[in-house]
């Protein structure tokens, strides 16, 4: 049971990341590969504030959201000049920069030593110390993030985002300032990723830069591609699948000498097969 609870917590955190990235990639059609950076900003904000100041988890989380929002505003201003592959490449560059900050600003982040001993969330004296309680908290937060994403997707703002994805020029002809829409959704998405980061830091209770590398952004992108672009339920399903698949492969009885290596090979093969036969993902309607 502790193992299942643990995986459920991770799924809920990564589902938040999937749902938030889906707003940018799925609904708006901007191929962002920088989500792990905002995930990391939320995690470091909570990690640093909880271990060095007396502030509570939720205050620290709020700071994380604000910092991620501000940084995403600056990044978004630059990224909004790009489209398609160039957007992806530029966003990847920002992930590398922020990762380097986590790694090298040792006075603040402790660099590769990481930050151990991060406290669990506490509200009105109640500490979410047990994993079951933490799961309840993360499911509630996921519910809020999901509801917000659904609201955005089905609002007039969401329809504008879909129009940007389908034909940005056409929308501009009608007088829409598409840059503002792209910037706004990018900031909302970054804020949501920071929430996931804060929960992650507080759950694992230890963070270091290795959790926020470019590969993590690729992993989050895989979640929404596999689950289905422009479908929030698909993003959640993608998180369930990509978290559980490698864990499930631990149980497949392979000789111990090659089990770890084979697990990665099988994991990769299954993803390739799924993309070959279901390129739009489980529930998606669009392809990249």
């Amino acid at each position: 049971m502790p193992y299942i609870t643990h995986l459920a917590i991770l799924i809920s955190i990564f589902a938040m990341l999937g749902v938030s990235l889906n707003l940018v990639v799925g609904y708006t059609g901007l191929l962002s590969v920088t989500h792990a950076a905002f995930f990391g900003i939320g995690a470091y904000a909570v990690g640093i504030l909880l271990t060095t100041t007396g502030v509570g988890f939720f205050t620290a989380l709020l700071v994380g959201i604000v910092v991620a929002g501000l940084i995403s505003f600056l990044i978004g201003l630059v990224l909004s000049r790009f489209n398609n592959d160039y957007y992806a490449l530029a966003s990847l560059g920002f992930n590398v920069i922020i990762f380097s900050v986590f790694l090298n600003w040792q006075g603040l982040t402790r660099g590769p030593l990481g930050i151990p001993g991060i406290d669990r969330p506490e509200i009105f004296g109640f500490v979410f110390s047990s994993n079951v309680h933490f799961l309840a908290l993360s499911v509630v937060v996921l519910g809020i993030v999901f509801a917000l994403a659904q609201f955005i997707a089905h609002s007039s703002f969401g329809r504008a985002l879909k129009a940007i994805r389908d034909d940005e020029r056409a929308l501009q002809v009608f007088g829409y300032r598409t840059v503002s829409f792209k910037l706004a959704v990018f900031m909302v998405s970054a804020g949501m990723a920071a929430v996931a980061g804060g929960l992650f830091a507080s759950y694992i209770t230890f963070i270091d830069p290795s959790s926020f590398m470019v590969m993590e952004s690729v992993f989050i992108l895989s979640i929404i591609i596999l689950g289905g672009l422009a479908d929030n339920k698909g993003a959640m399903l993608g998180a369930v699948f990509l978290i559980l698949l490698p864990e499930f492969l631990r149980f497949v009885g392979m000789p111990s000498d090659i089990a770890a290596q084979m697990r990665q090979v099988i994991y990769g093969l299954l993803l390739i097969l799924l993309m070959m036969y279901r390129p739009q993902g489980f529930l998606g309607k669009y392809r990249l």
């Binding site: 790694l103 590769p112 001993g117 230890f206 959790s211 149980f251 089990a259 697990r263 990665q264 489980f282």
Partner: protein, 369 residues
């Protein structure tokens, strides 16, 4: 039902079938380990950049598990904090009493989660903490062995200070690397560090860095690099005809490095290590068993892995599966081992109280100090 959902259900059915088959085959393969002895799980990096060390730990642990009749299950954590915690939770679910782990990120994510929970499996980590960067109290359920393996830089810095008047340091950007460089610089005393640089752990071409060291006119060089890249480094040092003492530690040097590197360069290397190469009777026995089992030479990591399982096995003889009793034994550990004397301090760090410096002569390790 849409095609998408049909796919989802298809995947679920496949997963259930494979899981059922896995459970069935495991039931048939269940080993008859004594129920009275500790069930041990290990979370090691068997994939990723540190797999070459993870494999050494694994082989050492498996050798000891076989020798002392311990039920050992090894899971891959890739040295990644989240992956390692996943593996630890799975081992907990499988009912292990002790989780062994290696490396800081992996060990601290597991240690932070279980260290204060005495109901959970006992956590016994290595190369997780350092004398330079103590991690603080992770709880009475967390023990760490061999902080000196990470803090080894100071030992070799003290040795170097007599002959080296201007030093250069190169290290991969890892916690252990930065720790060792800090230790080396401290150990150097009055000796100045005229050039210091870092590089990514997956670096294999060191020519630019070597040229910078050459330009800085350093008398000696400290480097922290993965042993699988050390051969490249030594060959590239040779390309520039640099005749400079190279100080490092057992993370960067092993028997393969000695065999594959140009002898002129490898004989310039002096490295800090545990007392593994002293060739006592116990060590000879370990070397013999290891060679017979794996057809290769053991190194520090294999030896430490072996010791971790041996310590638990011997504690288990006295305590059975009583975790509190095993914790008490670990808290008061003071014994000889193949890596030197081991003593537990007040922070539950099991210290390697003696450490050696070794060099290479005619393709073999020789004691320097």
């Amino acid at each position: 039902m849409s095609t998408g959902w049909k796919w989802v259900w298809g995947v679920v059915v496949v997963v259930v079938i494979v899981l059922a088959w896995s459970v069935y085959s495991k039931e048939n393969r269940r080993t008859s380990s004594p129920e009275s002895s500790m069930h041990v799980g290990a979370v090691l990096p068997l994939t990723g950049g540190l797999a070459f060390v993870g494999e050494d730990y694994k082989q050492g642990m498996e050798l000891a598990a076989h020798e002392f009749g311990i039920n050992l299950v090894v899971q891959d954590g890739g040295a990644d904090p989240t992956e390692s915690l996943n593996a630890a939770r799975q081992l907990e679910e499988a009912g292990v009493d002790v989780i062994l782990s290696a490396f800081r990120g992996a060990s601290l994510s597991i240690g932070s989660s279980y260290g204060k929970n005495v109901e959970g499996p006992l956590i016994f980590a290595t190369t997780a903490t350092s004398n330079k960067q103590p991690i603080g109290d992770l709880g009475k359920n967390f023990f760490a062995l061999g902080a000196e393996m990470i803090s080894a830089g100071e030992v070799i810095g003290s040795y170097a200070q007599d002959t080296c008047k201007s030093a250069a340091t190169l290290t991969e950007t890892t916690d252990a690397g930065l720790d060792k460089v800090a230790g080396f610089s401290q150990g150097l005393g009055e000796t100045k560090v005229v050039y210091g640089d870092t590089f990514s752990p997956d670096t294999t071409d060191f020519r630019t860095l070597i040229l910078k060291v050459k330009e800085a006119k350093a008398d000696c060089l400290f480097i922290e690099v993965r042993s699988n890249a050390m051969v490249n480094f030594l060959k590239q040092i040779g390309e520039f005809e640099m005749d400079i003492p190279i100080y490092t530690n057992s993370y960067s040097v092993n028997a393969d490095v000695v065999q594959q590197s140009p002898s002129a360069q490898v004989e310039q290397v002096i490295f800090s290590s545990t007392k593994l190469y002293n060739q006592t009777t116990e060590q000879k026995k370990f070397f013999g068993a290891y060679r017979q089992e794996y057809g290769e030479e053991p190194n520090d990591f294999a030896a430490v892995g072996y010791e971790m399982v041996r310590i638990i096995a011997e504690a288990s003889k006295e305590c059975g599966r009583d975790r509190e009793c095993v914790r008490e034994i670990l808290r008061n550990l003071d014994q000889e081992s193949i890596v030197g004397p081991l003593v537990t301090d007040q922070y539950q760090e099991i210290k390697l109280t003696e450490y050696g410096l070794f060099g290479v002569k005619d393709g073999a390790f020789v004691t320097v100090q």
